[in-house]
Assembly symmetry: C2
Homo-oligomer: 398 residues x 2
C-alpha cells in the first residue's frame, strides 16, 4: 500500500539528444546519441521558476521518489521528496535524472553501441562529473527551464551540485551540497580503486565483456559494495547496529561461516547489490568521482568566482569519515571568500556518511527552512536583488 | 651492508611441543604436534630475568630484528630492537615467535597434516589469540623463563600482550600494548570479513585447497591486503604521501589503467604481499582477531583482576581510526579500576594505525624511559615490592 504522504505512482521517462551532432566529453571522446533517464514529481509553474534538480550518488538512479508499479519500496530519497516533505511537491517541480555512465536507463556501458549493435562495455568513453552535469543541462534545456530554483544532492550528488554552481551559476538560484567534497581525496580514490580491483580480480569480469555470458562478475562487485558499505557507516553506528552480536548462533562456531551480525549485513547487502547494479557502471561512476577536483593550484576560489548570486546550504556530518567535515569547510571558505551567501551546518550525527539519507527529521527541518526562506524571497518584488537575506530584510524594514 | 646498530645476522629457530599429548585449543579441537618458529636477540642473564617477548601483528613473523643471510631488509621491528635501541639487546634478551595459524614457520594451514601427509588447508583448526598466547607460554617454559620482564606488541600483537596480562599475570613484570583493543569492534570485524570475502571470491582459492595447484588465490589476497593498507593509513597521511598526484603521467588518461599515485601504491603493495603471505593464513589470523574479546558483560575489569602487579604502558595514536584511542582508554579505565600501575599516552600523530611502527623517535624515547625505570627498580633490593613507582620513590627518600 502506498502511503498517503507519497507522491504515489511514478514512471521513468527518457530524453535523447546529440542525435545529429555528437556530445563531446571532457576526454575529447564523443557520444552520439545520448539518453538520460529521468523522473519528475509535482507541477512546473507558469513562470517555470519552481524546478528543483536532485542529483544522485554512486549507485542511485532517476527514481528518487514515489513508487513504480508493483514495487514495495519507494525511490531512494522518498523520505525527503513528496507532498509536504522537505522537497515539497505541492510547491516544487522536482527532477531527478540518472547520471551518464550508470545503468538505470541513461547512456552507459550497458547501452547498445550503435556502431557494433552490442553493449558498449569498456568501449563506453570514460565520463566525468562535469560530463554528467553537462548532460543534465541539456535535459533542463529540453524542459525549457531557464533557471532552476535549486540543485541538491549528497555524496557524488553533491559533487554535481558544486559543479552546477561552478560551471552554470546563472542556471540556478540555490545549491545544496550535502556530505560531499569539491576535491576527491586520495583516501576516497583508494577506496574507489579497491572496489575496482575487486571487480578486475573476478575472472567473470572478462575485461568488461560479460553481457552475453551466463556468469557476471557478481563476486567482485559484491566485495566492492561491501567495502563501500563499511565506509558509509561509522564505528559508532556499527557498534549500535551490530555490536559483536552473532548471527543465528549463540556461540562461536570456530569455522569460516558467517558468524557475526555485521558479516551477515555486509554479505547480504553485497550480494543484493549485484542484482541491481552493473559492474562496469561501478567502474565508470567511481572513476568519474576520482577525477573530480574543482580546485586550481589548491584553491577553490576560482571555481566559484561566478557563483556569487547563488545561495548555498552546505551540510556535513560529524561522524562522516569518508567525506569529513573539512571538505565542506573548504568549500564554505572559498564561497565566503568570493562573497557568496552561504549557510553551513556541521550536523552532530552518529550515522557516518549515510547520515545525509538517515537524518530525515534534521534534514527535513533544515531543507524546509532554507527552501521556504528562498521561496518567500523569490516571490517578493525585489527578489531580483540577489544580495543576502539580511540586506533584503533591511530594505523591507525601511 | 648491515648497519652497525643492528643486531646483525640472525636465524629463525623452531620449537616443537605437544608431541606426546595433544595441544587443546579454545574450540576444543586439538593439534599434535605444534611447532613455533622463533628468534631471539641478546643474551639471557644468569637470573633469567631480562627476557622481553615481542608479539607481532597480522602479517608479521618471528623475524623481528636483524638480517637473515642474503636479505636486504631487516626484521619488521628492527627500528626498535637492537643494541642501544628501545628494546636494547645489550640489556635484554628479546624473543619473538610466529603466531599459530600464520605461515612463517609456526603450525598453520600450510603445515603438513601428519594424518594426511598434505597441507592442512582449511583442515587446520580455527585458533584464537588465547591459543596463540598459550603456545607462547610453552615456548617461554621451554626457554626456562619463569617471568618475562615485559611483553610488548602493537595491533594484534597488542591483543596478545593484553591476553598475557589477563591470563598469565604472574608470568610478566610489564606489558606494553600499542594501538590495540581488548575487544574487537564490529568495524574491525567488517574489514576482516571483506578481506576474507575477497579471498573466497577468488576461484583459485578453491575452498582452501590450492597448495598443489599452479594458481594461487593471489588476486583475492591482493585485494584483501589493499583494503588493509587503506585502514593502516590516515586521510591526513594519504594527503601528505600521495595527494592527487598522478603516477607516470601528466594528465588524466580517461581509461582504467593505474593513474593516481595512491592506486599504484595499493596495487604494488597488494601484489607484493601475495609473494610473502598465504591466503588461508590470512583467513585464520583475521578470524582469531575477530574472536578477541576480553570483556564480560561489557566490562574488562574481570579480565585484569589478577594483573594488579603488572606495570602497563598503554599507547594509542590520535589518527588511528582503525583502533581509535577509545579502545585503549577502555583498557586503561579497567586497569585503573583494578588498581594496576598504568602509564597511558595518546600520541599526536598523522600516521594512522601504522604510527606504532612509524613514530620511531617518539616510541624509542617512550619505551626506553619506561623499560629503563622498571629495570632500575628491578635491580633495587626492594624490587619485590610491586607498588607503583611513586610509592617506591617515597621509600627511597625516607
Amino acid at each position: 500500500m502506498i502511503p498517503t504522504n507519497s507522491i504515489g505512482l511514478v514512471a521513468t521517462q527518457t530524453f535523447t539528444f546529440a542525435e545529429d551532432a555528437p556530445f563531446v566529453l571532457d576526454s575529447g571522446a564523443t557520444l552520439q546519441p545520448v539518453t538520460l533517464a529521468y523522473e519528475t514529481y509535482g507541477q512546473l509553474n507558469a513562470e517555470r521558476s519552481n524546478a528543483i534538480l536532485i542529483c544522485h550518488a554512486l549507485s542511485g538512479g532517476a527514481h528518487a521518489a514515489g513508487y513504480h508499479t508493483g514495487d514495495e519500496a519507494p525511490g531512494w530519497w522518498d523520505d525527503c521528496i513528496g507532498p509536504g516533505k522537505a522537497f515539497d511537491t505541492d510547491r516544487f517541480f522536482v527532477i531527478c535524472s540518472n547520471v551518464l555512465g550508470s545503468c538505470y536507463g541513461s547512456s552507459g556501458p550497458t547501452t547498445i553501441n550503435p556502431a557494433t549493435g552490442k553493449p558498449y562495455g569498456l568501449g563506453f568513453p570514460v565520463v566525468t562529473v562535469q560530463d554528467m552535469v553537462r548532460a543534465q543541462v541539456k535535459l533542463v534545456d529540453h524542459l525549457r527551464i531557464n533557471q532552476l530554483f535549486c540543485v541538491a544532492g549528497g555524496s557524488m550528488g553533491g559533487m554535481q551540485v558544486l559543479d552546477w554552481a561552478a560551471d552554470y551559476p546563472q542556471r540556478l538560484r540555490a545549491a545544496i551540497p550535502l556530505a560531499t567534497t569539491a576535491r576527491h581525496s586520495p583516501m576516497l580514490i583508494a577506496f574507489s580503486e579497491v572496489g575496482r580491483q575487486a571487480i578486475y580480480a573476478d575472472p567473470a569480469w572478462n575485461d568488461g565483456e560479460y553481457y552475453d555470458r551466463p556468469n557476471k562478475p557478481d563476486a567482485g562487485l559484491a566485495v566492492a559494495r561491501m567495502v563501500g558499505h563499511i565506509t558509509y557507516l561509522s564505528d559508532d553506528s556499527m557498534q549500535e547496529k551490530f555490536g559483536r552480536r552473532l548471527h543465528g548462533q549463540e556461540r562461536y562456531g570456530y569455522d569460516f561461516r558467517t558468524e557475526f551480525e555485521v558479516e551477515n549485513y555486509l554479505k547480504y547487502n553485497g550480494h543484493k547489490f549485484t542484482r541491481r547494479f552493473d559492474a562496469n557502471s561501478y567502474l565508470y561512476v567511481t572513476k568519474a568521482m576520482d577525477y573530480f577536483d574543482l580546485s586550481t593550484n589548491g584553491s577553490l576560489m576560482g571555481a566559484f568566482a561566478g557563483a556569487t548570486a547563488v545561495k548555498f546550504l552546505v551540510v556535513s556530518f560529524t561522524s562522516d569519515w569518508l567525506y569529513p567535515s573539512y571538505h565542506s569547510k573548504e568549500v564554505v571558505k572559498a564561497l565566503t571568500a568570493v562573497g557568496a551567501d552561504v549557510t553551513y551546518l556541521d550536523i552532530l550525527s552518529r550515522w557516518g556518511h549515510d547520515a545525509f539519507l538517515l537524518e530525515v527529521e534534521t534534514m527535513t527541518g533544515l531543507l524546509t527552512n532554507f527552501l521556504g526562506r528562498l521561496w518567500r524571497e523569490e516571490r517578493k518584488p525585489y527578489a531580483v536583488n540577489r544580495k543576502p537575506f539580511a540586506a533584503n530584510y533591511e530594505k523591507e524594514a525601511q
